[in-house]
């Protein structure tokens, strides 16, 4: 799917949670939201982008959240 759009969506999620004073909670919030609402193909594509392009285009807090909770974002079909 359109990568720019996915990055844009992820960043907007990030900017909502970024205002939380508790940083850990913000990171959990971001990855939790993506986990709960994004279809697996969108999450795989996002993770692939993080791996291959170092998450270029993602805001720092979103990248941090994804890296911190990477496994939880993997589609279950890819978890063995």
């Amino acid at each position: 799917m359109d990568m720019q759009n996915l990055l844009h969506m992820a960043n907007k999620i990030g900017s909502f949670f970024a205002s939380m004073p508790d940083h850990e909670e913000a990171l959990q919030g971001i990855s939790g939201h993506i986990h709960s609402f994004w279809a697996p193909r969108m999450r795989s594509q996002l993770l692939a982008h993080v791996d291959t392009r170092n998450g270029e285009g993602l805001t720092p807090i979103v990248l941090e959240a994804i890296l911190a909770n990477r496994d939880s974002l993997k589609p279950q079909s890819e978890l063995k």
């Binding site: 799917m1 359109d2 759009n5 969506m9 907007k12 999620i13 900017s15 909502f16 970024a18 205002s19 939380m20 004073p21 508790d22 939201h33 709960s36 609402f37 994004w38 279809a39 697996p40 193909r41 969108m42 589609p75 279950q76």
Partner: protein, 948 residues
């Protein structure tokens, strides 16, 4: 469930007093609530006092003098409609003296009345006729030759009812109905004595006046003076069936009055708990689309969208659809297809579509059009309060002291609730309106908003945070409520956040454009004015920060303790009839029925056991994701029931490109809608009159939809889904929608007490309905929040990406009007077209003048997404810099201009903010020309099928 046509009219409204009074009527002891009229006390005990000017939907007026009674120990003959009961009273309703007085009154009426009873449209449904009978009138001593009104001209301007002054008895019921029930004040009695007549507006016709065609006056009129044209055309009905309006989220109950399988009229149902006997022009009159000649009643298929349609049997169409879906899944994988179900469909239909997607398609790619309207409500209220629903009943507004309306225009979009709200405002409740436009509520007859905050579109969150700032920093918090009911840590963080100087009204003034003093005043009123209730609509949700704003609203209610009792709360005004229901029954891609996430294995196992399949534990695609996936080639097939995504979703060209990239689109609808022009299979749908089911309105009220005629295409929508599922190898066994509801109830704790039998018994039920609340739950979060403790959430204002620039200097916002509904597929095919025959661009005189735009002239509207052309309406309702349009006509292309921007949490599109430029032009846009060609070609392909 057939109902008698004439329900009892007990003459005056119910008294709300608890205290009982005992008296004697015609020698019979009766006990009634204090404040009840003698007329009502008699009627509910089976004694009918004659009456003409009284009816139980209106306050008594005491003008006709037909209801006179005798009271022991009192002189004269008091009117029973205006005299309240007193303890120990002894009343006589029938004596020779009373009989003779009443006869005298009737004689006067009848001497000025045409005696064409046999050919009158109201014959059999006329209170004047009845009263002539009751009073024993046999002759008219004055003769019929005196002065009369028999030659007065009829007013037939309204498309749905006529006004025949010759039949008017000047009982004033219509005038009072327009004032007390509807709140429009369109009618007056002009002239005195014999010359007095009912007049619409300032001596205007009904159409020219302020009349909004709600029908309340027609309903109240005891004679044929105000009469539905359908009754004039086809005569009185012979049976009635109670059902629910299929238009907006108010969910009004109606009695469909029938002659066999033909609707004669739709009459608002007095016992309907959502509407209490009131209606608006759509539900009351605009039902003719259901039998419109454009209805498609034969299944059709084609292999390419450039091919002519081919009418086929149900079997062939369903076989073809199923084989295409199977072929696509084989080739492109299980997740390459999905379904969309409209929130116009019933709960049972929605449930079946999501079941078909999860069980027969084997994925979670199902979504509903609530995605594009109120998905932020579901998300925001769940996060803060713990349940994705409004907290109140509509009736609760009767106990409100302060009403805050934000991003909603109830008089147009939720008219019947607006009437109830206006009644409370006329009684003295204070009103705060937060809206870029000066909506009707801000100043309407006998109503003035205490505060109107005309904010810039897209700045709701800024306003909400600064309201909160005032409440916190001026020490207006309800600290006891917060300490007892809310999470401590979250509250402290929120309090610190909103207290920051950058959230003050003074600092935010730059962003919102609203004077700080107005914000301060509104905050103080909301926090200290008594019971305060918030009502909001799509002007809150359809923004880049839609979900954040919903949370901001919940924060305000928690901060002031305005939640958990009558008169307060957080009230989303839902757009379409079944937005609440479609969300409740699992049509979102991430949730099973009852808002339970698909990753929750306990819930999943429950459904897996019941359905005998494995359910995917990961969320599916949302509607906009489906389009993106279609464009990248991973989404190829769609089952779309009742929803016109091409017209209603934003950025039309993006949507049509996505649909054009797919291999099989199956559309199930009553008309060949815009989406069907891109479809390969067309399955004819059934209207709300042709099927059984339930709708759930904005107050969580589940009401029955009842079949009054057979489906025009033989199958009801739920049967079509069942048959499609069977062909996909997943048989579903239901013989009636009641069995579908039974299954929902057995699998969903908030619905476990719901059944058709109970709905028949109670009329309607507000969920949750279960062993803890066997008759449902009118008010939520009473002693504790559904999630336990309420959770405050920080609402940082973030400006939308849709910035105004030199190139796009104006903000376009979109909305709806009273007479049309959504994409207009229904209302455009009714007489409502007389009020709104095209979408217009409203623009402030300054902006118009700057650009050389004149009222009625053609203007081009260009955004980053596209360009369209509409006619301009120069209007002071707009603020400078903001323009407005509706989206009821496909050729307007309002969504050609709207963009892909969306709410961060739910992808709900930002319909309310699009940066545009406007200029005068002479011809339609390129898109419109292309659209006209395409629509014409598609119509030809349809005609070939129908004529071939």
């Amino acid at each position: 469930m057939h109902k008698s046509l004439n329900e009892q009219d007990v003459g005056t409204p119910r008294s709300s007093a608890v205290q009982q009074v005992t008296l004697e009527i015609d020698g019979m002891p009766v006990s009634v609530a204090a404040g009840t009229s003698i007329m009502r006390a008699a009627a509910i005990n089976g004694v009918n006092v004659p009456k003409l000017c009284a009816t139980d939907s209106l306050e008594p007026f005491g003008s006709c003098r037909l209801c006179l009674v005798e009271i022991e120990g009192r002189r004269g003959f008091p009117a029973s409609c205006t005299t309240p009961v007193e303890s120990g009273m002894k009343v006589r309703t029938q004596t020779p003296k009373l009989q003779s007085l009443r006869k005298g009154v009737m004689e006067l009426y009848i001497s000025d009345h045409p005696l064409d009873c046999l050919t009158c449209a109201a014959n059999g449904d006329c209170e004047l006729q009845d009263m002539a009978g009751v009073t024993g009138l046999r002759e008219v001593r004055y003769g019929y030759e005196g002065k009369n009104h028999l030659s007065d001209k009829k007013d037939e301007s309204n498309p749905y009812f006529t006004y025949d002054p010759s039949k008017c008895i000047v009982c004033n019921r219509c005038v009072r109905a327009c004032e007390e029930i509807q709140g429009t004040f369109a009618l007056t009695i002009t002239g005195r004595g014999f010359a007095s007549r009912v007049t619409a507006g300032v001596d205007q016709s009904f159409m020219e006046s302020d009349c909004v065609s709600c029908g309340a006056c027609v309903q109240a009129c005891p004679t044929a003076t105000l009469q539905e044209k359908t009754v004039i055309a086809i005569g009185q009905a012979e049976h009635g069936v109670v059902t629910t309006c299929a238009y907006c989220g108010v969910g009004c109950a109606f009695k469909a009055e029938m002659k066999g399988t033909e609707v004669v009229r739709m009459v608002p149902y007095k016992d309907g708990q959502a509407n209490e006997g009131h209606s608006c022009v759509k539900g009351r009159f605009a039902w003719g689309y259901a039998t419109h000649q454009d209805r498609i009643t034969k299944p059709m298929i084609r292999s390419k969208i450039t091919d002519p349609w081919r009418e086929v049997s149900w079997d062939e169409a369903l076989d073809y659809a199923a084989s295409e879906f199977k072929r696509i899944q084989l080739k492109h994988g299980r997740d390459s297809i999905g379904g969309i179900v409209s929130s116009r469909c019933t709960n049972e239909e929605g449930y079946l579509v999501q079941k078909l997607v999860r069980a027969a398609f084997g994925n979670n790619n199902v979504d509903t059009c609530a995605r594009v309207c109120h998905s932020p409500t579901g998300y925001g209220l769940k996060q803060t309060l713990g349940e994705s629903a409004g907290t109140q009943t509509f009736k609760s507004v009767e106990h409100s002291d302060v009403i805050l309306v934000i991003g909603a225009n109830p008089t147009d979009a939720h008219p019947v609730f607006a009437s109830r709200m206006k009644k409370r405002l006329r009684e003295g409740a204070k009103l705060i309106v937060i809206d870029p436009r000066k909506i009707e509520l801000v100043s309407s007859p006998h109503i003035r908003a205490a505060f109107h905050l005309p904010l810039k579109p897209g700045t709701n969150v800024a306003i909400l945070s600064s309201l909160a700032h005032v409440i916190v920093t001026e020490d207006l918090l309800n600290k006891d409520f917060i300490a007892e009911r809310c999470e401590d840590k979250a509250f402290t963080e929120w309090r610190d956040f909103v207290s920051q100087p950058e959230n003050s009204p003074e600092a935010m003034q730059q962003v919102t454009g609203v004077a700080a003093e107005l914000v301060r005043g509104a905050a103080r009123l909301y926090a200290t004015g008594g019971n305060a209730a918030i009502y909001y609509g799509l002007g809150v949700t359809e923004h880049a920060q839609g979900s954040t704003a919903v949370m901001g609203i919940a924060n305000l209610a928690m901060a002031t303790g305005n939640i958990g009792r009558e008169g307060v709360g957080v009230n989303p005004l839902r757009g379409q009839n079944n937005v609440q229901g479609s969300c409740d029954i699992g049509s979102f891609p991430h949730e099973l029925p009852g808002y339970r996430h698909v990753s929750d294995s306990t819930t999943r196992h429950l459904f897996e056991a019941a359905w005998g399949v494995t359910i995917q534990p990961e969320p599916g695609l949302r509607i906009p994701n489906m389009f993106d996936a279609a464009l990248d080639g991973s989404f190829k097939g769609l089952y779309c029931q009742g929803e016109d995504i091409v017209q209603s979703d934003p950025n039309t060209q993006h949507v049509t490109a996505a649909l054009s990239a797919m291999e099989c689109i199956v559309v199930q609808d009553i008309f060949l809608n815009e989406t069907a022009m891109y479809a390969h299979v067309f399955l004819p749908g059934s209207s709300f009159l042709e099927k059984d089911g339930t709708f759930t309105n904005a107050e969580r009220r589940i009401s029955r939809v009842r079949k009054v005629m057979p489906p025009k295409a033989m199958l009801a929508d739920w049967e079509v889904t069942v048959q499609l599922s069977e062909r996909l190898g997943y048989p579903m066994n239901y013989s009636h929608p009641s069995e579908i509801m039974a299954e929902i109830a057995s699998l969903t704790p908030t619905f476990s007490g719901v059944s058709y039998a109970k709905l028949d018994q109670l009329g309607s039920i507000q969920w949750p309905c279960n062993e803890n609340a066997p008759e449902g739950t009118p008010i939520m979060h009473v002693d504790r929040f559904v999630r336990g403790k309420g959770r405050f959430i920080i609402t940082q204002y973030i400006a939308t990406d849709e910035k105004v620039t030199k190139k796009f200097p104006l903000i376009l916002t979109t909305g709806r009007i009273l007479s049309q509904y959504n994409v207009g597929a229904q209302t455009r095919r009714t007489g409502n077209i007389q009020w709104h025959e095209e979408d217009l661009l409203e623009i402030h005189p300054h902006d118009a003048e700057d650009r050389g735009i004149v009222d009625g002239g053609w203007v081009e509207i260009q955004s980053r997404s596209g360009t369209t052309v509409l006619r301009a309406s120069v209007s002071q309702r707009m603020q400078p810099g903001v323009v407005y349009t509706t989206f009821h006509f496909p050729e307007s292309g309002a969504n050609v201009i709207t963009t892909d921007n969306a709410d961060w949490a739910t992808n709900c599109p930002e319909y309310k903010v699009t940066a545009v430029q406007i200029k005068p032009v002479a011809e339609p846009s390129q898109w419109q020309k292309g659209y006209t060609r395409f629509a014409k070609a598609q119509q030809d392909l349809l005609n070939q099928a129908q004529n071939g």
